[in-house]
């Protein structure tokens, strides 16, 4: 498949935004049980939610560039019963709205106690909105992953590892961003987030590594024999029926050399996992919460995840390519 910048940006940006909000609400939830000190509402919760909203908003904006007729995008909410893409189009704005409400409640300070936990933690409007946003964030990871995983003949994607990796990689970049952000906004939480970020980065490496190993072993189900229905071991395409390109020759081929794919694979394994994990471990070892170190870790990891997403598309081999093997 041809990697498209708009889709790469959409999936990486909203993943980081979802992960960042999950980190913010993790701190909120732990504070309910007095496991961490509650962070400053304005500097941490509101500003952090604003960053998450900016990331998801930028992703949403990028997704419009994928469409041929963006002015009709609102129609995409229609088929939520059958289409994962339609579900994503509904859940993404719903998640953004819940995050907005969470930020608004924190900003306005309208936090009447609705109920009390046994330990004394106060359940207020912010907790409810945050809980809704958390559930929607997980739902959004599932929707985004299932858009790709539900297509049976794109076998590189048709695996439970696909939604799992969207979840793990989004959380990795989101918690790394939360660590870098909290170094300025809530230094007490930096070590916590760095630990989470390191764990998610390593889990992401395991999940993505498993997907890479799985995809290496895939044998194509469709062959030229089943594509044209001629039972002969040697079939060669002499003409695809036209002399220059078409939608089919552009949309489904990445058009790069196999060497480029290998190079991108090792680059993203280093940039999305190895280097950020080393920087996060270094930040954990250093006594001083190292803001710039974590900011660098996020920047490198985000670039690495963009490369990962490029590779994710490029490695998927569509069976229609069997029909487009010879220009003439």
């Amino acid at each position: 498949m041809r990697p498209e910048a708009s889709v790469i940006l959409l999936t990486t940006l909203i993943g980081a935004g979802q992960g960042l909000f999950l980190a913010i609400f993790t701190a909120h939830g732990l504070a309910l049980f007095d496991l961490v000190a509650a962070a400053d509402s304005l500097a941490f919760d509101v500003a952090g939610s604003a960053i998450a909203l900016a990331l998801t908003g930028a992703g949403l904006l990028a997704s419009f560039f994928h469409l041929g007729r963006p002015e009709r995008a609102w129609r995409a909410i229609a088929q939520w019963r059958t289409s994962w893409l339609s579900r994503e189009v509904i859940v993404l704005p719903a998640f953004m709205f819940a995050v907005f409400v969470y930020a608004l409640v924190h900003f306005a300070g309208v936090r009447p106690v609705l109920a009390r936990l046994p330990g004394g933690g106060a359940i207020d409007l912010a907790t409810l909105a945050g809980l809704a946003a958390t559930l929607l964030a997980f739902a959004l990871f599932v929707c985004t992953g299932m858009i790709y995983a539900c297509l049976p003949f794109l076998r590189e994607w048709h695996s439970p590892l696909t939604p799992l990796n969207f979840l793990l990689l989004g959380c990795a970049s989101g918690f790394t961003l939360a660590a870098a952000f909290s170094a300025a906004a809530a230094p007490g939480l930096t070590r916590l987030f760095t630990g989470y970020a390191l764990a998610f980065t390593l889990l992401g490496l395991a999940g993505r590594g498993a997907a890479l190993v799985r995809n290496r072993r895939l044998k194509p189900k469709s062959t030229l024999q089943t594509a044209i229905g001629v039972k002969h071991p040697r079939i060669v395409q002499k003409s695809m029926g036209f002399q220059s390109g078409s939608f089919n020759t552009r949309e489904f081929f990445h058009g790069r050399a196999p060497g480029t794919l290998r190079w991108v694979k090792w680059t993203f394994l280093a940039a999305a996992f190895a280097v950020p994990a080393a920087l996060q471990a270094l930040a954990l070892v250093l006594a001083d919460p190292a803001g710039p170190l974590l900011a660098a870790a996020f920047a490198i990891q985000f670039a690495g995840l963009a490369a990962e997403r490029w590779f994710f598309f490029a490695e998927a081999n569509h069976p229609q390519n069997l029909y487009y093997q010879a220009v003439a």
Binding site: S222, G229, V230, R234, F242, S244, F247
Partner: protein, 243 residues
């Protein structure tokens, strides 16, 4: 229930592309708007087509077969492109089984083309919406046309009658009989899409000579040439003339 479909006889197709050009002509002239081209008269021409004829070589020289392979939307009975559409623009008509795109609802997200293993959906470069074979839906149900012309443009254009059109759910239809009698098959059966369009395989054209054709059964003595003249006394055929 009706399921309209094409049956394409690979044994007869000569790869002339008449179905391609007639399809383009009909579908670029219809009410749905032009099927756009990009640089049609320039160095790198392109554009949307509903039907393409491809050519494959089977076997190794000197024992080769050239297979011309027309490919358009197969109007699957279980089309994977329909449920993935987020807007409902892609749909399968319940009354005749044709898979169609509502060009006014399509947002051009290309997801349906990812979900089609056959690569038969193409984005129209002008309208920026997904397009595909309609089985000439604006023609086959047109009551103002004579019955013989209510067929897809490609079927009418085919000079060798390699394309048949009809209802594959009607066991007595021409297409059902052609599939039954000539081992018609579907493409990529491994994905369970149940394509409605079928292909008839290449059949080797061989002359069958039986031994009794080489050795005449009415000449057991293997005597060739003129038979011996009968005697004048032998009876003749009509008792009037002699041999």
């Amino acid at each position: 229930m009706t399921q309209l479909a094409l049956v394409i006889d690979l044994n007869v197709c000569v790869g002339c592309h008449a179905c391609v050009t007639s399809c383009k002509q009909w579908n670029t002239s219809g009410a749905a708007g032009p099927l756009a081209d990009v640089n049609p008269y320039d160095a790198d021409p392109g554009g949307a087509f509903f039907n393409r004829v491809q050519t494959f070589e089977v076997g190794e020289f000197p024992d080769t077969q050239t297979v011309h392979f027309p490919k358009s939307c197969l109007h699957c009975e279980d089309p994977p492109c329909v449920p993935v559409c987020p807007t409902g623009a892609s749909y399968k008509r319940p009354d005749d089984g044709i898979v169609l795109v509502d060009y006014d609802k399509c947002i051009g997200c290309k997801y349906c083309s990812w979900a089609c293993p056959y690569g038969v959906r193409e984005i129209d470069p002008g309208r920026k919406v997904m397009t595909k074979c309609t089985l000439c839906v604006d023609r086959i149900h047109d009551a103002t046309k004579p019955e013989s012309e209510r067929k897809p443009a490609c079927v009418l254009a085919c000079p060798t009658s390699a394309r048949l059109f009809g209802d594959i759910h009607d066991p007595e239809s021409e297409v059902s009989k052609a599939i039954r009698d000539n081992a018609g098959y579907a493409l990529m059966p491994e994905w369970g899409t149940h394509p409605s369009n079928h292909y008839l395989p290449r059949r080797r054209t061989a002359m069958r000579v039986h031994p009794d054709e080489l050795e005449r059964a009415d000449n057991p003595l293997k005597v060739d040439g003129l038979l011996p003249r009968p005697s004048k006394a032998d009876p003749s055929l009509d008792d009037v003339t002699s041999w």
